[in-house]
Symmetry: C2
Subunit: 301 residues, 2 copies
């Protein structure tokens, strides 16, 4: 039995369009309706036949939905939810894919009081955005974290979990606050640091931008991939998950200062010990199928 | 005309073994002799037929060489050079592949006074090390920076450049001090930051190591690749290029503080502007063939 038969996706960017493709590929009998605030995105979605139907208004997209998934930047979740409030069928479940969960849950609860809200976050993505960047296999082998509110109906949680299972994800349930702390370190802080170093590198006087680009294969290029991610999405994430991000940033800065001291005082042992410790984590990530074992991510050489 | 006919490689790890493979593939008439301080590495090198000959002592490896390339960790360069001083033919050129150049040049000049020393640094690598991690195409399409001392013989520089051209690299000449500043930002700082964040993530109390591993696909896993690099090599790099690394680290920390402030004060515009600016660099790196244009480095999904 499929958990849903009429799914509406609002926001047809990287994640929304990947979800549409994945549902149509793995559950061809489910009817997928899409909407996006951007007329150009709607036009592309129609041209590439992304959904069974793409509507011009948010309201029209949900009138017969049994699941609505909001796939818009996290600070736009409340507005997107408010737009569908009137047309949403009473039985429909509302979910989302936002990268932070406590703030989004608060927005959705305020906009849709009394509704069945089951937020989720597929931990998968690329540096690209927009409807053409998506692909059906994006969620395969990745984790999707469901963060139901304390009073959520377990049956509704099970149905949303089942959907993510079907598109290939492993599903985990977590408290929204804890989700935000975990993701602050595994996703938000890495992005913040990558954006920072790419900014630092482009502001130097003694090293030209063209040198930075030419010799980027020494490690820098890895950071530029992450720092090419969507500015709106990431601005929203840092503002919506401010406390956890600042907390992790504080710890990182302290650790960086310790390393700075070790370099200044030629403490080679301290450096060596840290550098040895960090190898083990990579090994576990590969063992657990969360990264490619090929050297250099399998880049062509 | 080939620039050299008998090349000796000392240190048969990732870079040394890649160079051996690349020379034998692109210049099959060149005789390649290898040596490594580690008996186990020598044994592997022989078993996989890495070189025409692998000698048990450093001295024996250089007796008839016209080029010797030191491929050992940067702080071991002086010792490796001292070991061959007696047996080195008068006409032979000494080169190396070390990741920092001013400190290495000083070491080599002290150990081999009056010799033709032409240091070089191929800006290419992976997170793996050892003789089995190397491959012939590692240098193809990457830059190799030659950093000759001020009084170097231009003919010797041309010969070393030609060798790197033959194995597929683009060659650039640079002053050693400037090299160290450029690489501090494009390679050393990225590694330092990656090591730090992986350390930070493994020391948290509220987030378990297993959570960090599970949800690493949100960005963190990218950093773990770099942070899996060889501890000895990187300890040496940070100590040997201390001043430039500390200078770049200082700038990075200032920029990170500014971003921290922007988050704390909800300055979304400052975040958005930086995140927009950093995208352009990625585009240039891809246009100049220094990274894979495929999303997510072409990782399989
Ligand atoms: N990218 C990732 O790696 C990733 C991973 C996991 C989760 N997420 C989360 O997924 C969500 C979407 O991210 P994405 O990467 O798919 O972004 P995206 O490619 O930029 O797509 C977002 C789409 O939503 C549209 N939109 C904005 N406000 C809207 C509204 N009120 N109503 C309807 N449509 C609206 C945008 O239109 P415009 O063209 O007007 O902006 C855009 O087309 C975010 O919450 C993000 O945090 C992202
Ligand atoms: N990895 C990169 O991405 C990269 C890129 C460009 C340049 N480089 C530079 O290339 C050099 C080699 O790095 P790598 O990645 O190839 O390291 P690696 O894989 O660890 O290999 C280094 C080899 O040198 C041996 N060795 C150490 N001291 C020696 C000595 N005095 N005489 C002879 N052999 C000695 C080591 O033996 P043990 O087993 O006893 O340690 C090891 O087998 C370093 O200077 C590094 O900075 C590296």
């Amino acid at each position: 039995m499929l958990s849903f038969s009429r799914v509406t996706i609002i926001g047809l960017g990287l994640i929304g369009s990947s979800l549409a493709r994945a549902i149509r590929e793995t559950m061809p009998t489910v009817r997928v309706t899409g909407h996006d605030a951007d007329p150009q995105v709607r036009q592309i979605a129609r041209a590439i036949d992304l959904c069974d139907d793409v509507t011009d208004t948010a309201g029209a997209s949900v009138t017969d939905a049994d699941l609505v998934v909001l796939c818009v930047p996290v600070r736009a979740m409340g507005a997107a939810a408010a737009e569908i409030a009137e047309d949403l069928p009473a039985e429909a479940i509302i979910s989302d894919v936002g990268s932070c969960k406590a703030d989004v849950l608060a927005q959705l609860t305020a906009a849709l009081p009394g509704r069945a809200i089951i937020p989720a976050h597929p931990v998968a993505g690329t540096e690209n955005s927009g409807p053409e960047a998506g692909f059906a296999s994006l969620f395969r082998g990745r984790w999707c974290i469901i963060t139901p509110p304390a009073d959520a109906d377990p049956a509704a949680v099970a149905r949303v979990s089942e959907l993510w299972h079907r598109v290939g994800a492993d599903v985990e349930t977590m408290d929204p606050q804890h989700h935000d702390l975990v993701l602050a370190v595994t996703s938000h802080l890495p992005h913040l640091i990558a954006y920072t170093i790419v900014g630092t590198a482009s502001d130097l006087e003694d090293v030209t931008q063209s040198e930075v680009i030419k010799y980027s294969a020494g490690g820098f290029r890895d950071f530029t991939r992450i720092a090419a991610s969507d500015p709106t999405m990431w601005r929203d994430v840092f503002l919506a998950n401010k406390d956890a991000v600042l907390e992790m940033l504080q710890r990182f800065s302290e650790d960086l200062s310790a390393l700075q001291r070790a370099i200044r005082w030629n403490d080679g042992d301290a450096l060596f010990n840290l550098f040895t410790r960090t190898r083990a984590i990579r090994r576990s990530i590969i063992e657990q199928g969360q990264d490619d074992p090929k050297p250099d991510f399998g880049r062509s050489h």
